[in-house]
């Protein structure tokens, strides 16, 4: 176990940033901490790095108690959201910094340092920028230099805070793939924080979904998408249609009318029905659980997105569905809708 976090509690005043968080990260994993802002993900990352201290709890890195050491003794590589490159140093000196500040006894000689920095700059494919200053670099270049700098100290683990957050969309996509292939190459246990689900699902081996200081679900990207454990995860990952329903035994009712779908074991009482947009099958009127009038259709690529005003709600409940383009839908048409996959969670 590379990293083990137990019962971490961290408060800022009366606000619980982390509320009894447990997490185990295996050697060589590439883990994403995913959640909205204020979910505590960055705080957790900073506690692991030693940049913040929990009110209570334990953190172990490679089985050693990490909380007895300061950030400078943990040998943890940290890539800051805004990179935190030293603005008065060249790219080369930035990367060399961690090697130059080592205690004299273990400090490498200048030639070794130079060679190592050169290797790292090669690794991030930016050796040609060695003599530039951070202000002369693009965002993506800074990101890679920050990574090279963190790797220079041969970290036991690598932590990245919103690594792609400050970049524009195109660069972000490129860097994602690059980060994953880099991880395959160097295989250092890595955790990155993101609020972007696509990023988490695409890059990480395992995703930790957080909300309000708690972990909602830990699982593979496919797992958290296909089998969301909580209403929050279902709502946060992927786009969902959410309908307020009543569960009584195995019957599910919307606005008092039965839906003819099983409750899948949900407890009786007020609940929420979650369906992915593309999990709503469209059929001729009178054949499905729900019925509605199509108000508007837009088609792009392989799908058509339709706004449907559900019958029985006096047209007040409008949902958006994604249907394949095997049959073109028309505005004004009355259709039936049948959820293919869905989850029901008790309303909070």
């Amino acid at each position: 176990m590379a990293i083990e976090v137990k019962n971490i509690v961290k408060r800022f005043g009366s606000f619980a940033a982390l509320d009894n968080v447990d997490l185990k990260v295996a050697d060589g994993e590439l883990l994403a901490l995913l959640g909205p802002s204020g979910s505590g993900k960055t705080t957790l990352l900073r506690i692991i790095a030693g940049l913040d201290w929990p009110d209570s709890g334990e953190v172990a890195i490679d089985g050693e108690n990490a909380l007895s050491r300061g950030a400078s003794e943990r040998q943890v590589g940290f890539v800051f959201q805004h990179y935190a490159l030293f603005r008065h140093m060249t790219v080369f000196e930035n990367v060399a910094f961690g090697l130059r500040v080592q205690p004299r006894a273990i400090r490498k000689d200048e030639a070794t340092i130079r060679a190592r920095v050169k290797n790292l700059l090669d690794l991030v494919q930016l050796d040609w920028l060695a003599n530039r200053y951070p202000s002369q670099l693009s965002g993506g270049q800074r990101q890679r230099i920050a990574l090279a700098r963190a790797l220079a100290i041969e970290p036991r683990i690598l932590l990245l805070d919103e690594p792609f957050g400050a970049l524009d969309a195109k660069v972000r996509k490129e860097l994602r793939q690059w980060l994953r292939s880099l991880h395959n190459e160097i295989h250092v246990t890595s955790i990155f924080v993101t609020h972007d689900q696509e990023e988490a699902l695409e890059v990480a081996n395992r995703v930790v979904v957080m909300d309000k200081g708690k972990i909602e679900q830990i699982g593979s990207p496919g797992d958290v998408y296909d089998n969301p454990a909580t209403a929050f995860v279902h709502g946060f990952i992927g786009e969902s249609i959410v309908l307020p329903v009543d569960v009584a035994g195995d019957a599910v009712r919307l606005d008092g009318r039965p839906l003819n779908i099983p409750a899948l074991g949900a407890a009786s009482g007020a609940a929420k029905l979650f369906v992915r947009r593309h999990d709503m099958a469209v059929g001729p009127a009178g054949t499905g659980a729900l019925e509605g009038a199509i108000r508007h259709v837009r088609s792009f690529g392989p799908i058509q997105r339709a706004e449907v005003a559900l019958s029985g709600s006096e047209g007040k409940t409008v949902i958006e569905i994604d249907a394949p383009r095997d049959r073109e839908l028309q505005a004004g048409e009355i259709v039936s809708l049948q959820p293919r996959r869905y989850r029901i969670f008790a309303a909070q």
Binding site: K6, L51, W53, D55, S56, E58, N65, L67, S68, G70
Partner: protein, 279 residues
């Protein structure tokens, strides 16, 4: 594994050490000396204190200091606004030079300003002579004090208001104009109101500075008791007479007044920040 109780630590080192040194040095240089002033005052009975503060000469000195400072701050408020407007909104030859010139009263040692103003406004001075012909005597009269206080106060208003006027969103004015306001309305109903917190702050700073001012005033003042003797000078006179209690009592009155002004400025700025969100 460790116990669950985790010692609070901070990431960056040196908080205890630097905070300790800061507080110690602050106490030694600022707080203890200022405390001595109040301690000394408490050695006086209330009657004694009242007697000193309300003696004719003290009262007149305080009146002169506060009254003329207030008048000078008013002039600075008006002239400062005009200068800021010219510097920020218009282009004219030498604009940058004049912008830099505004700082001279800050930078010029007060004694230098004092002798220079006196020389300038003395009866045979460049400005004193023509004024004398008009029958106006400036040097060695209260008008001289007033002039010196205007001199030292002007940068406070300009430098407080200038950044606010620069940052003023041009769209506000364009919106006012598009809503049919003429320029007069736009300036007096839209722009000036949003400058009010800065204007008042600048006014208060200039006022506070003028009350305590010594060097640039005493040369031109004439220093006639009850007529043109400012409170700081009276403190110096009492000290030279070894009347420490008198000096201290006057000092405490002035100090409390300037603390009140700082408090007011603080309030003003908080109010301004609450009213106009800082971006």
């Amino acid at each position: 594994m460790v116990s669950t109780a985790v010692a609070r630590r901070s990431t960056l080192p040196g908080f205890g050490l630097t905070m300790g040194l800061t507080l110690t040095w602050l106490s030694v240089i600022i707080l203890i000396p200022l405390a001595a002033l109040f301690l000394k005052t408490f050695e006086l009975s209330l009657d004694q204190f009242w007697g000193i503060v309300t003696s004719r000469r003290t009262l007149n000195a305080l009146k002169i200091s506060f009254g003329l400072s207030f008048a000078a701050a008013c002039v600075n408020l008006v002239m400062g606004t005009i200068i800021v407007w010219a510097l920020v909104r218009y282009r004219f030859p030498g604009r940058r030079l004049f912008d830099a010139i505004v700082d001279i009263p800050f930078a010029l040692p007060t004694a230098v300003a004092g002798v220079a103003l006196t020389q300038l406004f003395a009866q045979k001075g460049w400005l004193g002579a023509p004024l004398a012909e008009l029958g106006i005597k400036v040097a060695f009269t209260p008008i001289g004090i007033f002039i010196a206080m205007i001199f030292i106060g002007i940068p406070f208003v300009v430098r407080t208001v200038q950044p606010v006027l620069i940052d003023l969103d041009p769209e506000i004015e364009e919106a006012a104009a598009s809503l049919g306001a003429n320029r007069w309305h736009t300036v007096f109903r839209v722009i000036l109101p949003s400058l009010i917190p800065a204007l008042l702050t600048g006014f208060a700073l200039a006022f506070a500075r003028a009350i305590g001012e010594y060097g640039s005033v005493i040369f031109i003042a004439g220093n006639l008791p009850n007529v043109s003797e400012i409170a700081p000078l009276l403190i110096v006179i009492r000290l030279s007479e070894f009347r420490y209690a008198d000096a201290t009592a006057i000092a405490v009155v002035m100090l409390v007044a300037s603390f009140l002004i700082i408090f007011l400025i603080n309030r003003l700025q908080r109010w301004a920040q609450a009213r106009i969100p800082v971006h």
